[in-house]
Each structure stands twice: as C-alpha cells, then as structure tokens.
C-alpha cells in the first residue's frame, strides 16, 4: 500500500462522511421547513424516505426480481428447468441433502451441548469466565473459524509428523492419517462441527438466562421430594425453558441454512460438501448461471420461511402468557 493509496482511502471515508452528513442535514432542514399545508405528512415522509427507499430498492425489488429470474432461462424465457436441475441433477440433489443434514445436526448438537454446559456451570464459581470461553467463537468471523479448524484438520502424507490436531490424535492411537476435508462423507460432518463450535455459545447464553428464570422454589420442592439431578433436569428445568429452547433451535436453524462462508473457505463446495447457500453463490457468481442461482436462493427462502413463522408464533404466544 503506497501513501497515495492510503490517502485515497482516507479521502473516500472523509468524503463519504461529509456527503452523508450533508444529505441528512439537508433532509432535516427541509423537514423543519416543510410547507404549512400537510406539514405533518411531509415531515413523516422526510423521516421515512431514506430507509424506505433503500429497503425498497435494495431488498424488496431484488427479492421479487430473484423470484422471477428463478423461472427464466439466461435468455429470459419462462422455464422450470432451474428447479428441475435443482431436484434431479445428482450434484444438486447432494447439495440439498447436505443442507438438510446441516440443518438437522447443527441446531441439535449446538443446543444440546449449550444446554448441558449451561446446566453444569449454573451458579458455579467462575460462571462468567466459563460463559465467555464458550461464547467467544461467536465474535470470530466464519472465515477465521474456518482457518482455525482447517488447521485442526490438516493432513500430512507419508511418515511426516502430523501438524493437524485431529490426525495427530488418530496417529497417536495407531490409526492412519486421513485427508479429512477430501473424504466424503466425513468432510461434511467436519464442516458441521465448525458451525456447531460457533453456535453453541449462543444457545448456552440464551438457555442459561432461561434456567435462571426458573423459580428456585420449584427446584427445591423437587429436591425435597427426593428427585435426582436427571429427574429434576427432565421434569423441572426442560419444561421451564421450553420457549427458549424453541427459539434457540429455530434461530440456529435459520443461521445454519444461510451460512455460506464455512463451506466456501474450507472446501469451496468441492468433494461433495456443497450446501444451498454456497451453491447459490457458485452458480450465480462463478458459473454465471443466474437462473439456477436464483432458483437456489428461492429454495433457501422457502426453507427458511416456515421456521421463521414458527419462531414468531412461539415468541408471540410466550408474550401473551406474560
């Protein structure tokens, strides 16, 4: 980076800030000077316009357009071919199957481990520290997490000493080192592990807060009744946090369906590891198959939709109870 480059970048940021401040200042100026007639209305428009225009142009229109593109050939004629491709081609089917595996395994394991951990550390000494440790991966980018785990999965051929932790363990127990990321189907599982590693902290924090919300009297009563830890867990704690459990499961499911960076960084979707979010990028922006990419985006949306609706319903019911 030369000094000129750096100056150019700083200049861009300063100009961006100045232009943006000018736009906002002008807008507010005109809002306050709005004509007397219908003044409230003009002011409302002034306050809403920037956000509404940006969202309409940048989200609503593109989403509609993508839905149309999904049913078009590259020449613009109507077709179902993109969906036929997505549901019949072996590679595409594998992508869908992988996505289903991801969305089954990640929420289940992340929630299970997060819940167990939350229960284990509940009211223990150093709870905050324990929480921070498990939660930390959430602040790390998926790309960073991918590099971290790629290093764990690293493979060295022949008799060379293994530098990847996983292979080192395998070798220590007398096994043969494996090219983890190239070996189907274990590679998909290993990518899923990365996502679980990232998401468990989220589950743990939410569930831990929910556990603290359970009335202590309930737990004490159960204890006086002579229940053991497991019985208290299944009969008092789990029913007491059911709402939070659903929220955690659905939230992680949605995040899992959309995650793109892990597959992209670790295998780029090769070796049968692709998932819908990654394949969408590959088709639309690498292979220039706009129609197929759009169809995959639409499939992704349709997969996310029911989970979101369910999530919103649960949240609303929870709020009504309160």
């Amino acid at each position: 980076m030369t000094t000129a480059d750096l100056l150019g970048k700083i200049l861009q940021v300063v100009m961006g800030l100045v232009v943006f401040a000018a736009i906002v200042g002008l807008l507010i100026f005109f809002i306050d000077k709005a004509p007397k007639k219908g003044r409230d209305y003009w002011q409302l428009v002034g306050f809403l316009a920037p956000a509404v225009i940006l969202v309409a142009v940048g989200l609503i229109y593109p989403a509609i357009r993508t839905s149309i593109l999904a049913f078009q050939t590259n020449a613009g004629d109507f077709t179902f071919d993109n969906f036929v491709w997505a549901f019949t081609q072996p590679a595409a089917i594998r992508t869908l199957i992988n996505t289903v595996i991801w969305v089954l395994l990640v929420p289940t394991f992340a929630t299970a481990v997060g819940l167990a951990y939350a229960v284990f550390i509940d009211r223990s000494r150093g709870e905050k520290f324990y929480k921070a440790i498990l939660f930390m991966p959430i602040a790390i980018s998926f790309v960073g997490a991918s590099v971290i785990w790629k290093f764990v999965y690293e493979y060295r051929s022949g008799d060379r000493e293994q530098i990847g932790l996983l292979n080192a363990i395998v070798v220590a127990f007398g096994g043969e080192p494996v090219q983890w990321l190239q070996t189907d189907p274990i590679n998909t599982i290993l990518l899923i592990v990365v996502m679980i590693w990232v998401q468990t902290g989220f589950a743990m924090v939410v569930l831990s807060a929910a556990i603290k919300g359970i009335a202590t009297e309930q737990l004490e009563a159960a204890q006086l009744d002579g229940t053991n830890g497991w019985q208290r867990f299944t009969n008092v704690i789990v029913p007491g946090i059911r709402g939070s459990l659903v929220v955690v499961l659905t939230t992680i499911s949605i995040a899992t369906l959309k995650v793109f960076d892990i597959v992209r960084t670790m295998t780029a979707g090769n070796f049968n590891t692709s998932i819908v979010a990654n394949e969408m990028y590959t088709q639309a922006f690498r292979a220039s198959e706009i129609g197929r990419g759009s169809a995959l985006a639409l499939i992704l949306f349709v997969m996310v939709l029911p989970i979101v609706i369910y999530n919103v319903n649960v949240l609303r019911k929870q709020r009504e109870i309160r």
């Binding site: 000129a4 100056l7 150019g8 970048k9 200049l11 861009q12 961006g16 943006f20 507010i28 100026f29 409230d40 809403l48 920037p50 956000a51 509404v52 940006l54 969202v55 940048g58 989200l59 593109p62 167990a116 951990y117 284990f120 223990s124 440790i133 930390m136 959430i138 790390i140 980018s141 790309v143 960073g144 991918s146 590099v147 971290i148 790629k150 290093f151 000493e161 293994q162 530098i163 902290g201 924090v205 807060a209 929910a210 603290k212 009297e217 830890g229 939070s244 995040a255 959309k258 793109f260 960084t265 670790m266 780029a268 990419g293 995959l296 985006a297 949306f301 996310v304 979101v308 929870q318």
Partner: protein
C-alpha cells in the same frame, strides 16, 4: 435496563429474549434466602464443563501459538510440541503486515479497507434507521403501522435473494458515479467503497429499525409532548431528545453491525471486486486459504489479526454485544 428476573414482565415491547438477557448481562443477583447450592451433580458437572471449555478453546489456542512459531517448525511439528520444539518469532506478523514483496499477504491495506467499510456501513444505517424508527414510533398516520410490519418482516429474506439484482442495479447506477469520481479525483480508485457501504446499509436497515423502534417507542410520551408544546420541531426533537435517550440501543446495534460487517464475506465477495483497493480482511484471508493453503505461518498470523478486533470488542463491550447479537441472530 431493568434488573429483574426474566419471568417478570419487563416492558411491554421488549421481547422475551431481550429481557432475559438484560437480567443475565447485568449479573442478576439472587436474594440471600435462595442463594443455596442447588447444582445438579457437582463433581461430574465440573469435569464435564471443563472438558467442553477445553474442547472449545484448544483450536483457537493452537492457532494463536502457531502464529508465533517459525515457519520451519510449524511445517514439521505440531504446535502442542512447543515445549520440546521451542521457538518464538514475530516474523510471521512482520511478513503478513509489513512485507511489501508481491508474494506476501500485505494485510495492511486490507485492514484499512475493513475499517473504512465497517465505519460507514455502521453509521449510515444507524442514522437512517433511527430517523425511520422515530417516525414509526411517534408520528401517527394511517398505513404507517403496515409499513413497519413490512420492514420488520424483511429481516427474514436471506441475503442470497437480493444479491443478483442488486449487483445489476449497482453496475448501472453506481458504476458511472464511481468512474466519474475517479476522473475528478484520480487518487480515488475506480473500484471504491461505495457499493459495499450501500449494500451493507441496506441489509442492516430492517434489523436496525426494529431494534431502535422498540427502544424509541418506550421513551415517555410526556417528554416528546412537552418538547412539542415548547415549539420544538421534529428535527430538534430527534437530535436533542430522541438520539441522546437512545444511546443504549444505538450502542447495541452499532456494535452488532460493526462486527457483522467486519466478519462478512459474502457481501464483500460480490460487491468489492476483490482488489487491494476495496476488499476487506475476511476476503483476503479466504483468498489466502485457497492460494497459500499450506503456508500456515502466514495463515495463522493473518487469521489472528482478522479475529483480534472482534474479540477485543467482545471482551470489552460484552454486554452490549450480547444484546445486539441476540436480537440480530437471524440477520443475513
């Protein structure tokens, strides 16, 4: 923010998640009478939690250690043998940050890019969203409620749905502007931050409006009314009353959005063009894992540089960060 057990109704518009997190994040203290030991099975629980905690830290720890080991040692020995194969160097960091040879990662310019992108991509949606949130909360008009629900619902649209058409729009609308800017100010490259700023701002808006609306709508009506009676304009109320009062919500969103943009790969890949002029750190790191996949001395140091800023934010502003993150966990 209230300090109350999560099963008490804390504020009507705050979601279940938010109130529980408040109680949790503020270190909710139990009354003395119920502060008794009631953990399930003490010994096993402790051991299990230590094992999980170790499993979760070891990968990051290995990366961290390796980034300080000489290339030769990384290539031939595992990082866990650090005591039998000792070696410490800062060369890796020097290499990725300062070296100007064309074969080195030259992360310096990408760090600048990441900061530049994240800065404006946080400020722009924040200002526009707080304006919209104020209007949604305090300007009564027919149809406004419906509009709010629509924007709220937009949060569920996956980014992937918007990318292709948005790229087309940008290349017809923003590209000429960028070219013109380059002609006028040659020091600014033709590939500049504008598309990324706009894209991130758009994608951040629905969540920002939702978060800020929850907060702004709970400002006591008396405060706003009093200002109105005193003859304050909407602009004055917004800048002098609403914004200062909303600082906690603004902080939560700002931190969440900053980290989100900093960690983003997908938007960068599509809108940045991938050159040193624009591409953020994540994109460079992803590229390096492809092209320099075996050079672990570079990858470990580069990865650590890219994750250190979010980690600092996380540890110093944990409370705001958690709140913003929980609210925005379905973003993207």
């Amino acid at each position: 923010m209230s300090i109350a057990p999560p099963d008490l109704p804390v504020g009507k518009n705050r979601g279940a998640l938010d109130s529980t997190v408040d109680a949790e994040a503020s270190g909710y203290v139990e009354p003395k009478t119920i502060r008794v030991k009631k953990r399930l099975t003490s010994r096993t629980a402790t051991i299990a939690s230590i094992i999980i905690a170790l499993l979760w830290t070891i990968p990051t720890f290995g990366l961290f250690i390796s980034s300080f080991r000489p290339a030769e040692l990384i290539r031939t020995t595992g990082w866990w043998t650090i005591f039998t194969n000792p070696g410490f160097t800062l060369e890796n960091y020097q290499d990725v940050l300062l070296s100007t040879s064309s074969s080195s990662p030259q992360l310096g310019s990408y760090i600048v890019n990441s900061i530049a992108i994240a800065l404006l991509a946080t400020i722009i949606p924040l200002v526009f969203a707080s304006m919209a949130a104020y209007a949604f909360a305090w300007m009564r008009f027919r149809g406004v409620g419906v509009l709010f629900v629509i924007i709220f619902a937009l949060q569920i649209i996956p980014l992937q749905m918007a990318l292709v058409p948005l790229l087309q729009i940008f290349s017809t609308v923003l590209r000429p502007m960028q070219a013109w800017l380059h002609d006028v100010v040659p020091i600014i490259p033709e590939q500049n931050y504008l598309p990324l700023w706009v894209a991130h701002s758009i994608f951040g808006l629905p969540l920002a409006i939702f978060l800020l609306h929850n907060f702004i709508s709970e400002i006591p009506a008396d405060v706003i009314e009093a200002a109105r009676v005193d003859g304050a304009t909407h602009g004055q109320i917004f800048f002098r009353i609403v914004l200062p009062l909303s600082v906690p919500a603004i902080a939560s969103f700002a931190i969440f959005q900053f980290i989100w943009v900093w960690n983003d790969l997908l938007v960068a890949l599509i809108f940045s063009g991938g050159t040193q002029d624009v591409a953020p750190l994540t994109q460079r790191l992803a590229e390096l894992t492809g092209t320099r996949g075996q050079d672990w001395q570079l990858l470990t140091a580069a990865a650590f540089i890219s994750i250190i800023i979010p980690l600092i934010v996380f540890f110093s502003l944990q409370r705001y960060f958690v709140r913003g993150l929980l609210a925005g966990s379905t973003k993207g």
